[in-house]
């Protein structure tokens, strides 16, 4: 009897372990293959029988990427757009969320709902008039055209996330400072701000991920090769007839790397805040 239930338990554990292994292959397999491809000779990849293990590795794809393509330019453009978007979004969200949390005024609930709704708003509905307006003001091919649009998608959701994050920050310190006659802005920047850094970090990460990967607006607003961001520039690697899969893989990896590294360091804070926000 006892042996039988022991066997049953062991069998259960075995099934779970096998399922987790299968899942790991499904989740990690594609990442493994693109990573491996980026370090393999382009000839081997299209030879009909590429090695599936890490053999004959080379850096030629990355050298090609930086020397023979405009990848470095795309990288620079993406960095600029991402940094500016994040900076502006975090500033707008911080002030907005602080206002929603600490002040009472009419229409507050409505505004909070609006902030969340913008996150689900279909970008495709906006793109035609935005393109028309940007065209009129000759902002096509200008990175700022992307930044102002990205901020509109990042800042409201960030403010919403921050607002729920602010729930956990006690009011006492600020009240004490107010009694002492400190100015409103000073309270916000010198007392409130330091307490909110984990929240700010996660909304910054949200903006970074969004602007680093955004494709639709970027491919529409940027036409000159020297202005393109990474997703747009890389997508052109596929439009040539004889695709160099080695450099495509290298480009894919090099684009994901900065975000992956950043996330490796800050990811836990992000997961904690986002899941808490959603469950509330």
């Amino acid at each position: 009897m006892d042996q039988k239930s022991n066997f049953k338990r062991l069998f259960g554990i075995l099934v779970i372990v096998i399922l987790i292994m299968v899942l790991s292959v499904i989740v990690l397999g594609p990442i493994y293959w693109i990573l491996l491809s980026s370090f393999k000779h382009a000839r081997e990849l299209v030879s009909g029988h590429p090695g599936l293990g890490p053999t004959n590795l080379t850096l030629e794809n990355f050298i090609y990427l930086f020397q023979r393509t405009l990848f470095a330019t795309y990288l620079k453009n993406s960095t600029f757009v991402t940094l500016m978007t994040t900076l502006i979004s975090v500033l707008l969200a911080l002030h907005g969320a602080y206002s929603l949390r600490r002040f009472n005024f009419r229409g507050k609930t409505l505004i909070e709902r609006l902030l969340l709704l913008t996150y689900m708003f279909p970008p495709i509905v906006l793109i035609i008039p935005l393109f028309k307006v940007l065209h009129t003001f000759s902002l096509i091919n200008n990175p700022w055209s992307l930044i102002i649009v990205y901020v509109a998608f990042c800042a409201p959701f960030s403010a919403w996330l921050l607002e729920s994050f602010f729930h956990s920050i006690p009011l006492e310190v600020e009240e004490a400072a107010l009694m002492d006659g400190a100015g409103r802005l000073r309270i916000l920047y010198e007392i409130f701000l330091p307490l909110t850094s984990p929240g700010l970090l996660s909304v910054a990460l949200f903006s970074i991920i969004f602007s680093w990967s955004e494709y639709m607006f970027a491919v529409t607003f940027l036409m000159n090769e020297d202005k393109m961001t990474l997703p747009v520039g890389l997508s052109h690697f596929l439009s040539i007839y004889d695709i160099n899969w080695g450099s495509v893989s290298a480009g894919a990896i090099a684009t994901a790397l900065p975000i992956a590294i950043l996330f490796g360091f800050l990811g836990r804070i992000f997961i904690k805040n986002v899941t808490q926000g959603t469950i509330k």
Partner: protein, 317 residues
């Protein structure tokens, strides 16, 4: 509870003269939203009533001609059908995967941060990276998937999953779900961890089976979270443009042309902005309907409760 208390004190401490200051802090954000989202929304409606072609050309008001035209052509209905298949397909695949994996991970990896970080990784990876990866793995001549299948003698010829009419849409749904289901796992895991262990212990004492415990304890607790995530996920899936456009461009033929793809191609490839705007307005309406079903389907919760005959879990629903 504490929040309500704080809010009341909050009212006392920060009173009227500061209302203006509060509004001033919020104003830039609101202006930004109105300029970049509010104005274009209205402008799209206006453009949909004109014969606008390229942006520089003059637009002449033509009433509802565009709508008459697109509703009499098959393109819109085809894209609508694709969008519905895409959205529902994604929701089903992701919820099933997310649920299964979360329950699986809940036991061995209950508190593993590594598992959490790993499972959110696919979402962090830029779409372009994944699009290039899929194009490469599923490439008809040199793709590794076909290579593995051939090596194992499962197929004679590598299947062209993305290039065939029948398989392009299901394949894209699987690829998109690969990306999003880990996110669901993380959220379901977090929700699972809020369920008091005593409920399971009591059920085990009563001799309830694992499956019974799932439906009687886990499921009712998870339902509210799943509904919220379901809404978010459905709308986000509906909006997906980049992955589809980068992988199939809406093809082969129009088999993966969802509504966002149709709007985009009509506006920027066919240069018919008036008609594209009419598509966009209809897309917006379809999406609002999706959202309304969820929001006013608060009845859904009650329906689930009825379905699983739960009275005891009332307070969680």
């Amino acid at each position: 509870m504490t929040d309500i208390k704080l809010n009341k004190r909050n009212q006392k401490a920060f009173r009227f003269p500061d209302e203006l200051f509060g509004a001033a802090l919020l104003l830039p954000l609101l202006v930004w939203i109105l300029a970049i989202m509010g104005y274009p929304l209205i402008a799209t409606v206006w453009l949909s009533l004109t014969n606008q072609t390229v942006p520089a050309s003059p637009a002449v008001f033509i009433g509802i001609e565009n709508y008459k035209r697109i509703l009499s052509e098959p393109d819109f209905l085809n894209a609508l059908k694709n969008s519905i298949n895409w959205t529902i397909g994604n929701t089903i695949v992701q919820v099933l995967l997310g649920y299964t994996v979360a329950l699986l991970l809940n036991y061995p990896l209950r508190r593993s941060r590594f598992a959490q970080t790993m499972s959110i990784m696919p979402w962090v990876i830029p779409t372009i990276t994944m699009a290039l990866t899929w194009r490469w793995m599923l490439d008809a001549t040199n793709g590794v998937l076909g290579y593995i299948l051939r090596s194992l003698h499962l197929v004679q010829q590598a299947p062209n999953l993305l290039g065939s009419l029948g398989t392009s849409m299901p394949t894209l749904i699987v690829l998109n779900s690969w990306r999003w289901f880990p996110f669901l796992v993380v959220i379901i895991l977090a929700a699972l961890q809020n369920i008091p262990q005593e409920e399971y212990d009591a059920a085990t004492l009563d001799g309830a089976s694992f499956i019974r415990q799932f439906f009687d304890i886990s499921f009712p607790y998870l339902t509210p979270t799943l509904l919220v995530i379901g809404l978010l996920g459905t709308l986000l899936a509906f909006n997906v443009f980049d992955l589809i456009y980068l992988i199939t461009r809406g093809g082969p033929v129009t088999s993966t042309t969802t509504l966002p793809i149709l709007v985009y191609k009509t506006a920027f490839e066919a240069n018919r902005m008036g008609i594209a705007s009419a598509y966009a307005v209809l897309t917006f309406i379809v999406m609002a309907l999706f959202a309304a079903i969820y929001i006013y389907g608060g009845g859904i919760t009650r329906w689930f409760k009825y379905l699983f005959g739960r009275e005891a879990s009332q307070e969680h629903l």
